[in-house]
Amino acid sequence: MAGLKLTDVAKAYGEVKVLSNINLDISPGELIVFVGPSGCGKSTLLRMIAGLEKITGGTLEIDGVRVNDVPPAQRGIAMVFQSYALYPHMTVRDNMSFALRLAGKSQAEIDAAVEKAARALQLGPYLDRLPKALSGGQRQRVAIGRAIVRDPKVYLFDEPLSNLDAALRVATRIEIAQLKEAMPDRTMIYVTHDQVEAMTLASRIVVLAGGGISQVGTPLELYERPENEFVAQFIGSPAMNLFKGEITGTGTATAVRLAGGGTAVSAVPTRDGEQGLRVNVGVRPEDLVPTDDAAFLYQGTVDYTEALGEVTILYFHAEPGETAVIAKLPGIHADLRGRNVRLKADPRKVHLFSNGKSLLYRK
C-alpha cells in the first residue's frame, strides 16, 4: 500500500524550467496516467518519481515518507522503459532475477518469484533465451516481468507500448489492465501518448502542459467536464470544435450568438451582467447532429468525408488559416460530401470557455 504525494515539485535544467508547481495526491492502488503533448515533461516527472532525475524543488513523498534524496532502489518503485532496457548479455531469467540477486535474496526465493512472474506473463519457454532472440512483444513482457519480480509498491511505465504494433499494443494493454486488477493495492503511474490507453487504463488522468498540471480527473471527468480549452481539445479524437461567440442570454442556461451566424444554447449557467462576454463555445465532433430546424449552431459545406464504417467523419469547409469544423455521425454518410449541412447540439454537451478556462469551474 503506497500513496504518493507531490508538493510543489519542480524541475529545472540550469536556467531552463521544465516543470513547476506540480501538486498531486495519488492514493494507494490507483492507476494514474500522465498525458500531454510531446516535450511537456511527462518522462521527466516520471523519472523524478523513480529517482533517476534530481528533484530541484518541492517534495515527493511515497507512503508518507519524503524520498527526494532516497536512491531509486530504496523507493520501492520499479520502472518499465519505453525501449525495454533489457540487459542484452543476460538471459531472460537473469534479467528478471538481477534485482533480487543484488538485494541478496536466496536462490529459492529468486526462483519462486521468477517462475511466478514468468507464468503470469507466459514467458516460461523463453527463460533461458537472450533478449535478442525475442520479439518486441516478448521483450516488453520481460521488462514488465522484471518489474513484477521485485514486487514494488509503485510501478512506473514510460510509454511501454509505443514500440509495439497496433494489434500487440491492444493485447499488451489488456494484459496490463489485468495485471493491475490482480494487484489492486499496487500503485501504477503510466505515461502515454495514446488516448485509448489513457482512457481505458486510468483511474485518473493527469494532463500535463506548459510545465504544469492542466487538469487531474477520471477519464470521464476530463471528457465531459474539461477545465480548460487545452484539456478539452487534447482529450477526445478528433479534437473538440471551438466556435467564437458572444453571450446573449444568461441564467441556468446560456445562449450564445456565434460568429458564423448560428446560436448555441449551453446548460452551463451564467450570471446576470455577463451578457456580451466573448466566449469560445466547445462542442465535440460526436455531439454535433444534423438538423433541419431554423435554429442551428453551425452550418457549412462538407468538404470531405471519411467513412470508417461505424461512423463517418465530416470535414467542413474552412477559409485558409481557420480550423475546419469536424462532425462525427453514426453510420455511413458519404453522400453528404459537397452538401450544405446544418448542425445542432444538446445543450448539456455544449462547453463554454472564457480566456481558455471553462465557465463551469469558475467561482
Partner: protein, 412 residues
C-alpha cells in the same frame, strides 16, 4: 639533387604510377580485351566485371606476396639450412631448432615474452578501461584523454629514451636526474616506506590475484552447469585456464611473501635496469604507457555505446556504481575488450624496439624478437635467427586468427 626534391619526385612518380596503372589497365580491359561491342557484348561485359576486381587487387596482392608471403617461406627454408664457410649453404633439417632449444638465452627470452604477454595486455586493458570510465565522467575528461592518448604518437624507441632518463642513475653524492631514483632516495625505511614499498605492492598483487581468480571462475563456472551444450575441446581449455590461473595466483601470493621478507637498500641509488627479473617490469612500463592510450580510446567508444537505459534500469534495480560497471557495462563491451586485449597481445609478442633500445637483452631481459635480431644480424647465424622468427610467427598466428575472427564478429 636535393633529397627533398628526390622525395617529392618519388611521391609523384609513385602516386602517378598507381593512378596510371588503375586507369590504363581498366581501359585495356574494357576497350581492348573485352570490348562491350559486337555480337558478344553482353558476355564481354560480364567477363570484364569478373576480371576487374583481380586487376585492381593485383598491386596489393603482389606487394603482399613479395614482402610478406615470400619471406615467410624463405625464412622457413633458411631455418632449415646452415651457412657454409666460404659461401653457399647446406640442408641441416631441424638442427638449428635443436641448437636453439639448447641455448639458455632462448629459454630466457621465451620466459620473458610470456611474462610480457601476461602483464602488458592485462595492465594496458585494465588501465585503459579505468581511464575510459573515469574520463567520461569528469568535465576535463577530454583533456585527460588527450594526455593519456599522446604516448601513442611517440615511437617505441623515443619512449624508451624517455624512460631511460627516468631510470637514470647518478652516484649517491650527486643530484639524481632520474625521476625514479630521486623518488627512491626519499624513502629511508620509515612508515611511508612501509606503506608505499610493501603494503601498496602487496595490495596490487592481491588485487591481481583476485582478478585472475574471478576471470578463471567465469571460465570454469559453465562446467558445473548441467544441461548446457559444450564442445569437446571446451573442457580441456577451461581446465587449462584454471591451471594457468592457479599458477598465477600462486606466483602473486609468493611474491607478496617475498616483498615482506625483502631487505630494501634504502638510501642507495639503484641501477634499475640491471636488477634481474624486476627490470623486465621496468621495460614493460614503457609499452603499457603507450598502449593504455590505445585501449582507452577504443574502450571509451565502446562504453559510450552501452545503452544509457540499461544503466538506468540497473540503478532502479539497486546496483551500485561498481556493480553497474562490472555487471552491466563491462559484459556489454566484452567483445571489444577481447579485441583490444588480443591486439595488444600481438604487439607484445613482437616487442623489439623497447628492449633493443633500453637493455639490448642484457641482465636477463631478452625477448624473442631481440634474440632473433641478435642471432640474425649480430652473430650472423641465419639458421638460428630464422628458427627464432618461425617461433615468433607460430606464437602470433593463432592469436591473430582469433583476433580477426573476433573483430569480424564485432562488425556483424
Amino acid at each position: 639533387m636535393n633529397p627533398a626534391l628526390q622525395g617529392l619526385i618519388t611521391i609523384v612518380v609513385g602516386v602517378g604510377g598507381c593512378v596510371a596503372y588503375y586507369y590504363f589497365s581498366n581501359q585495356l580491359l574494357d576497350k581492348v580485351l573485352f570490348p562491350a561491342r559486337g555480337p558478344e557484348a553482353g558476355r564481354n561485359i560480364n567477363r570484364a566485371n569478373m576480371i576487374r576486381p583481380w586487376l585492381f587487387l593485383f598491386p596489393a596482392l603482389f606487394a603482399l606476396g613479395l614482402y610478406l608471403a615470400y619471406p615467410v617461406f624463405e625464412t622457413l627454408r633458411l631455418s632449415l639450412t646452415q651457412r657454409l664457410p666460404g659461401g653457399g649453404s647446406e640442408w641441416v633439417g631441424l638442427q638449428n631448432y635443436r641448437n636453439m632449444l639448447g641455448e639458455p638465452k632462448f629459454w630466457e627470452a621465451l620466459r620473458n615474452n610470456m611474462l610480457w604477454l601476461i602483464v602488458v595486455p592485462a595492465a594496458s586493458t585494465a588501465f585503459g578501461l579505468l581511464a575510459a570510465q573515469l574520463t567520461d565522467r569528469i568535465r576535463w575528461g577530454n583533456i585527460a584523454k588527450s594526455l593519456i592518448f599522446m604516448p601513442m604518437a611517440i615511437s617505441f624507441v623515443g619512449a624508451s629514451v624517455i624512460f631511460k632518463l627516468i631510470y637514470d642513475t647518478r652516484a649517491a653524492d650527486q643530484p639524481q636526474i632520474g625521476v625514479l631514483n630521486a623518488l627512491w632516495l626519499q624513502f629511508e625505511g620509515g612508515f611511508w616506506s612501509l606503506v608505499f614499498l610493501k603494503i601498496v605492492p602487496a595490495l596490487i598483487l592481491l588485487a591481481f590475484a583476485a582478478i585472475v581468480a574471478w576471470v578463471a571462475w567465469i571460465f570454469v563456472r559453465p562446467m558445473f552447469k548441467t544441461g548446457e551444450p559444450t564442445g569437446f575441446w571446451t573442457v580441456p581449455l577451461r581446465l587449462f585456464v584454471a591451471g594457468a590461473a592457479i599458477y598465477l595466483i600462486f606466483l602473486s601470493l609468493r611474491s607478496i611473501v617475498n616483498i615482506f621478507g625483502a631487505e630494501l637498500p634504502y638510501g642507495q641509488p639503484q641501477t634499475w635496469l640491471t636488477i634481474p627479473f624486476w627490470n623486465n617490469f621496468f621495460l614493460m612500463v614503457v609499452l603499457i604507457w603507450i598502449q593504455t592510450g590505445f585501449a582507452m580510446v577504443i574502450l571509451s567508444a565502446a562504453l559510450r555505446g552501452v545503452p544509457e537505459d540499461t544503466v538506468e534500469a540497473a540503478i532502479v534495480d539497486g546496483a551500485n556504481p561498481f556493480q553497474i560497471f562490472f555487471r552491466i557495462k563491462v559484459p556489454q563491451i566484452m567483445p571489444t575488450i577481447v579485441v583490444v586485449w588480443t591486439t595488444i597481445t600481438i604487439v607484445v609478442l613482437k616487442v623489439f624496439d623497447i628492449v633493443f633500445a633500453m637493455t639490448n637483452g642484457q641482465w636477463e631481459t631478452q625477448v624473442l624478437a631481440n634474440y632473433m635480431y641478435d642471432k640474425l644480424f649480430r652473430a650472423n647465424d641465419w639458421g638460428i635467427g630464422s628458427a627464432a622468427a618461425m617461433v615468433i610467427m607460430l606464437l602470433v598466428t593463432p592469436i591473430l586468427v582469433w583476433n580477426v575472427w573476433n573483430a569480424r564478429r564485432e562488425l556483424r
